[in-house]
Amino acid sequence: MEVMIILVPLALALGLAGLVGFLWSLKSGQYEDLEGAAWRAIADDDEPAPAQPEAAPGRP
């Protein structure tokens, strides 16, 4: 059962990492436009994409 000393903290750390990841994605505005995100994923890339900063949708 000594293995728990490694596994339990590891599991908790992974869970925490998931939560932090979710909060980050929320904060960077990735849930503001779910419909658009769905379409962007399948948009054609053959035309040269315009220069676009990798920022969140414009918020003041």
């Binding site: 059962m1 728990m4 339990v8 599991a11 908790l12 869970g15 925490l16 998931g18 939560l19 979710f22 909060l23 929320l26 849930y31 503001e32 436009d33 779910l34 419909e35 658009g36 379409w39 962007r40 399948i42 948009a43 054609d44 035309e47 315009p50 220069a51 676009q52 900063p53 920022a55 949708p57 414009g58 918020r59 003041p60």
Partner: protein, 733 residues
């Protein structure tokens, strides 16, 4: 005179030489549109960001401060084929969006905590029936506590706040039993863990919050989304006024930037966007949006004009007035306030359910404790069993029962062209048993149409349509539209207040007043036939023709009225228009009950009369004169073309030309209410099964978790049925 467009009101300064503007865009629906708009706008020099939000149908733009005029973006979008207009977030919308984000954050925290606590609980459940050491179990319980307590403290905030607000004002809502259940569950689990007991309910408490937050978030997101759509529609109406910025210089500014005392120009064919008094000019105005009266009113120096009036023939200069006491608008606003106050007393189904629910649950838990003590159990065991009753009855499915149905039903309504303004509108709409329609703009279309098109030779009609393109007069615009004219005639001359004339192949043609075209005899003849129609005459050489123009009924009005009647709903017309006009419409639609020439106060009186008789009234109207009665009715609906005030007051807004969305909304609402009730019964039924187990002390955390998720999933699946209604398929497009 030179016209400029001034959008500086909407531009935000981001600092560091960057400017920002939000535009509402019409017709963006796919990836292609998105790429086209973003590329098209990014190609403009100095633009640093152009990003489409497809959910809200908006574009966010940022550019380097300098020579770039925001009007350029709108022109560019128009070139690309999209109508756009700057957009200012109403503060209500910003609050809703912030609340929505907060709920999602809470949901994230609760969901991750649930997953981790579950990961610890499952080994305990299986270990309890096999070989787990008590020390290991305690360790897992303590770990669960470390995760669950802070998570509940954070993710429970929406519930704690709402319950506290209710308790402070002496009420009980659904959140009170939720909070009591969660807090007691956590407290008991801590004590039990401390005493090395076998069962702890950390998992149940945090899972309950997760499920409930799903319901809350869905509810909030629906509200946020309708508000965003409503905001876009308001922005795309592009209410501007032409303001004098110098003696002879005018600028097109958004209505929000107009102040009392400003001087604005009102050209023929324009709708007035402000309240004011005419200081110069002579014209006729159409006040049908305000009073329901379709006859034109003469306007000259000193005539008061209201927002929503349509200027017909001449150019007017209007001095903007502050809304003074005793004006039509002030009077309507006062009636509106009274009516809205009365309606806020409506109690939602969920509130009624929780008012019954909370006392029953708490009494059951208290009786369980007492019962076990009397039966000889220790206080400790009795209290643990009592708390188990509270946990198992915690209204998890109950909290999901209504928001899930509402979300699904509002999505379905949205697809059939109905927007919800009020959260409880679905419930109230489902109860409607008497519909009162306004005539002008509601049963009829707001635009004019040519009624005698069949009597006029096709070549004449086409020529008249081309000539009509050169006129600003709304009646002429209707002729141009009916003729589907595209290319205006060269050299057409407009004579203000008279009509337009041009020379084609050496023959003079004229379109305008009957006198202008020498067609008085035809006009008199037509006036006898159809007294309500407006006429416009056309002359080619020596031949004269007369176009009879009026507001036509919505294409499917008769079918929809019949549909409502088939569903056992009584239909009635209350209109501010003349008797002849209302009688004709009522006859065409098969409506027996109608009244003409009614004032806003009369409309309210009629609604109150029906209310006293216990009838649930739905009001459908568009005019500003309808706004108070929209507020007074049990539930109300407005077309999207309605006056601002009415649209803001109505519970539902419908899009498009047909009346079909009204019927669709009724069908969806009835189905939704049925499902809400069914869901409540499902939730109650689950309690009936689970509570005896809890009272007898047989409930373990495993059973609590299984029962809770099982009933929640059942309720959510049932809610999905709100997507479809039986019966005829209706479309608004």
């Amino acid at each position: 005179m030179h016209v400029t467009r001034d959008f500086s009101h909407y531009v935000k300064d981001l600092g560091a030489g960057l400017k920002h503007i939000d535009l509402a865009v019409e017709g963006v629906s796919c990836a292609g549109c998105m790429a086209k708009i973003e590329r098209g706008l990014s190609a403009l020099p100095d633009v640093t960001l152009a990003r489409v939000n497809l959910t809200d149908r908006r574009v966010a733009l940022e550019w380097k401060q300098g020579t770039l005029d925001p009007a350029k973006f709108i022109d560019r979008l128009a070139e690309l084929g999209y109508k756009a207009y700057p957009f200012e977030k109403a503060s209500a919308e910003a609050t809703e969006a912030e609340e929505s984000r907060f709920l999602l954050r809470c949901l994230g925290v609760a969901a991750f905590a649930t997953m981790n606590v579950m990961m610890l609980s499952v080994p305990v459940w299986s270990g309890n029936v096999s070989d787990m050491l008590p020390e290991q179990r305690d360790f897992f319980h303590w770990l669960s506590a470390v995760i669950a307590l802070p998570a509940v403290a954070y993710a429970g905030q929406p519930f704690f706040r709402s319950a506290w607000r209710a308790l402070k004002s002496g009420n009980v809502n659904m959140d009170v039993p939720i909070c009591i259940g969660v807090i007691l569950a956590l407290g008991m689990s801590l004590v039990e863990t401390f005493h090395h007991a076998e069962h702890a309910y950390f998992d149940a408490a945090i899972m309950l919050l997760t499920f409930l937050l799903v319901g809350r978030y869905l509810d909030q997101n629906m509200r946020r989304r309708t508000r965003a759509v409503a905001g876009n529609l308001a922005a795309l109406k592009a209410e501007t006024a032409t303001k004098f910025i110098g003696a002879d210089e005018i600028s097109e500014v958004p209505v929000a930037a107009i102040r009392a005392g400003d001087l604005v120009l009102l050209r023929p064919g324009e709708r007035c966007a402000v309240d004011g008094v005419v200081v110069e000019g002579r014209s006729e105005i159409d006040q049908s949006l305000i009073t329901g009266e379709t006859l034109y009113v003469p306007a000259e120096q000193g005539t008061a004009v209201y927002a929503g009036s349509l200027n017909i023939s001449g150019t007017l200069r209007v001095r903007v007035s502050a809304a003074a006491e005793g004006t039509l608008l002030a009077e309507i606003t006062r009636l509106l306030d009274n009516a809205l106050q009365a309606r806020s007393r409506y109690m939602r189904l969920a509130d009624r359910a929780s008012r019954l629910y909370a006392p029953v649950v708490h009494a059951t838990a208290a009786l369980t404790v007492l019962g076990w003590v009397l039966a000889g159990a220790s206080w400790h065991d009795a209290i643990v069993t009592g708390i188990a009753v509270l946990i198992i009855t915690c209204p998890c499915a109950l909290g999901l029962a209504i928001p899930t149905v509402q979300t699904v039903a509002s999505g379905a309504m949205f697809k059939s062209g109905v927007l919800l303004n009020a959260g409880d509108a679905i419930e109230r709409l489902a109860e409607a048993e008497h519909v009162i329609f306004d005539k002008t703009g509601t049963l009829t279309l707001p635009e004019l149409e040519v009624v005698n098109a069949a009597d006029i030779p096709a070549d004449v009609f086409a020529l008249a349509g081309q000539l009509a393109l050169s006129s600003h007069h709304p009646v002429a615009a209707a002729v141009a539209q009916a003729a589907k004219a595209r290319s205006p005639l060269m050299g057409a001359v407009e004579e203000p207040g008279q009509g337009v004339r041009a020379v084609v192949d050496g023959v003079e043609i004229r379109l305008g007043r009957p006198a202008f075209c020498g067609a008085e005899a035809l006009a008199v003849q037509n006036a006898n036939l159809d007294p309500e129609a407006s006429v416009v005459a056309f002359r080619r050489g020596s031949d004269t023709f007369l176009f009879s123009v009026r507001q036509g009924l919505r294409p499917d009005a008769a079918k929809i009225v019949a549909g409502l009647q088939r569903r056992g709903i009584k239909v009635e017309i209350l209109s501010g228009d003349r008797e002849a006009a209302v009688a004709a419409a009522a006859k065409a639609l098969g409506i027996d009950e109608w009244r003409a020439s009614v004032t806003p106060a009369d409309k309210i009186a009629r609604i109150e009369e029906l209310k006293r008789a216990g009838v649930k009234v739905m009001m459908v109207g568009d005019g500003m004169n309808d706004a108070p009665s929209l507020a007074a009715a049990h539930v109300s609906m407005s077309p999207i073309s309605a006056a601002h005030l009415s649209q803001a007051t109505a519970d539902l807004v419908f899009l498009g030309r047909p009346l079909a969305p009204v019927l669709a909304a009724v069908d969806y609402a009835r189905k939704a209410l049925h499902l809400m009730r069914q869901n409540l019964w499902l939730a109650v039924g689950y309690n009936v099964l689970a509570v005896p187990l809890a009272i007898s002390g047989l409930v373990t955390p495993l059973i609590a978790a299984a029962a809770m998720s099982g009933s929640s999933i059942l309720v959510m699946l049932n809610a999905l049925r709100a997507r479809k209604v039986a019966g005829e398929a209706v479309s608004w497009k």
